[in-house]
Amino acid sequence: MERRREQRPGARFVGLAVALAGALILCSLLFVAAGASPLHAFSALLKGSFGSLRATGETLVKATPLIFTGLAACVAFRARIWNIGAEGQVFAGAMCAFWIQHNLAGFPAAVQLPVIVIASIVGGALYAGIAAVLKTRFSVDEVISTVMLNYIIVYVLSLLLLNGPWSEAGGFFEQTARIDKSAWLPVLLSGTRLHAGFLLALAAAVLVQILLSRTPLGYEIKAAGSNLRALEVQGTNVRRVILVVLLVSGALAGLAGITEVYGVHHRLKAGAIMGYGYTGIIVAILGQLHPAGIVVAAILFGALVNGGTLMQIETGVPSALIYAIEAILLLFFLGGWSACNFRLRRVRHA
């Protein structure tokens, strides 16, 4: 086996098609193992995710935070900065937004909403900033620091929510009281839960695309991803690049926090914002680290999670399988994509 020089688009297409077919077959086997007909399961999945306006809206709702965390991973990974901390930065964004917003009761939505958005950006960015400082000042590997920060903030939130300053009066659940309606992200399409956060996510995707392809920072990200040292030798302060990249990445992740808290759950609680960071990384990779691809991949994952509910109700296939399906899709996709880079060589015998 050796590496191919040129990629023929046809070959790549065939490779991906084969990978997709493989993933579908493996998933079908799992369905059969669960005692369900794959056809029935897939059709329930499809119906649950795109079968109606409401289902479609719900799919987009589920996709929204993933777009943000996918973009967060995209910006960092392009610079080869392994920010695994979107998970914690989502928390930080949501917490910062809540911290400021819950003191603004009584202000009109026109005041509260911009404050929430800005606060979540700041919160996510600052939390990522800790990892950035640890990396640039103390050379602590960002993979490690971000993973640990992910754990720490869960406990910080718990501290604040459980008999803490943010806990719901008289409640024992780890959650805040319901947020006043004036601070909810407005619903875009009546009859669905699709909220303004989705538009925000699309706008963020466009901005990230421009950032990456057209701006000096995008240039630096590309350069840092290829040869950080050359960038430094040529007079760019790479500490600043690392810092800025992590701040931008964290800010994007922070936004995922408010779409869930202010758009869907209307309470701050760990369960509302958990898991999007890690899934976002997968979405980013499936989307080939391209904003448009990330939007598509996020919608695909949104559809899977959303459709999984109806699938479980109609066919009895446990919805936990959805996560396995996501992983299988990703593995086959990555494998198929990579396999296209190689061609098998027949070894000649003299």
Partner: protein
């Protein structure tokens, strides 16, 4: 309150708990250490441990033999590592991403399989679990005896593996080859030693150890499987290997340090010290970050860790 913490019986309990908590971490960390020494960053430890815990439980339940459960868990970990190896070593897919995918796969598959296997029963059956095996003579030593020498077989195995792996890595021909694969795979390649087989072997060893580590959770300390029962331990393992500077003895120290903090936190709660437990629970992570930030030496990482080897 502090004087309570310093009572001999409490200290003994903390020490024994530390060793128990350390066991699954150490098993997996030793495996991850070898994998990373060969240049492969296996971030899928969490998923491998989780699947190991589940399959270990399932196999032990179905066969009635705990050791068969451990064997099955090792096999499962090894199999997932094989998938990881094919993806990252042969197909050169990004290692961090593949690891995350395997974590997701482990979480999804174990949870789904658990539901599927015990559908309708409403409850996963409890199985027997390993009990302590005191080492005759040693376990009667005053004070340290019951702490160190009255543990489970897997615990002895984990601690025994530290010197064994040290010897392997630094005193044998194959250990040199493994380290060379992580430091400069081309130096191996030009000697006519295939890099891929070395890395495959190291990664699969890592997977097997992660699987056994997971099995310790479900058949060694708990006696059942619950969804997501690894609870982030796989991630901790990765941190431990880094904190342990990719060397067996420091890895052991790091494992014990993390475990001690966890044991301490449970003991402090048990004594009733009025510290919010969240603070105690985050303590290991905070301490680790601070330790990493102020550690004097930054060396130790295999030079080509995470970089796939291509000839051209």
């Amino acid at each position: 309150m502090l004087d309570q913490l310093l009572q001999a019986s409490i200290l003994a309990s903390i020490a024994a708990a530390t060793i128990r908590i350390a066991t699954p971490l150490l098993l997996a960390a030793i495996g991850e250490l070898v994998a990373e020494r060969s240049g492969v960053y296996n971030m899928g430890v969490e998923g491998m441990m989780l699947m190991g815990a589940f399959i270990g439980y399932l196999a032990a339940y179905e066969s009635g033999s705990l050791w068969f459960g451990v064997f099955a868990a090792a096999l499962t970990g090894g199999l997932m590592a094989l998938v990881f190896a094919i993806m990252t070593i042969t197909l050169k897919v990004e290692q961090i991403v593949t690891g995350l995918a395997l974590n997701l796969l482990g979480a999804g598959l174990s949870n789904y399989w658990l539901r599927a296997a015990f559908a309708g029963e409403g409850k996963t059956p409890v199985i027997p679990h390993f009990s302590d095996v005191p080492i005759p003579g040693l376990s009667e030593l005053p004070l340290v005896g019951p702490i160190l020498f009255d543990q489970r077989v897997l615990t002895y195995l984990a601690f025994l593996l530290v010197p064994v792996v040290w010897f392997f890595l630094f005193r044998t021909r194959y250990g040199l080859i493994v380290r060379c694969a992580g430091e400069n795979p081309k130096a191996l390649d030009v000697k006519g030693v295939g890099v891929a087989p070395v890395q495959y072997a190291a990664v699969i060893f890592g997977g097997i150890m992660a699987g056994i580590g997971g099995a310790f959770l479900s058949v060694g300390s708990a006696a059942r499987f619950v969804p997501d029962m690894t609870n982030g331990r796989g991630w901790l393992v990765i941190i431990i290997v880094i904190a342990g500077l990719w060397r067996p003895w420091p890895v052991l120290v790091a494992t014990l340090a993390f475990s001690l903090l966890d044991a301490l936190q449970l003991q402090i709660q048990g004594i009733g010290l009025d510290v919010p437990y969240q603070l105690l629970l985050m303590m290991p992570y905070v301490v680790a970050i601070v330790a990493l930030a102020i550690r004097p030496s930054r060396g130790g990482a295999p030079a080509t860790l995470g970089v796939p080897y291509l000839r051209e």
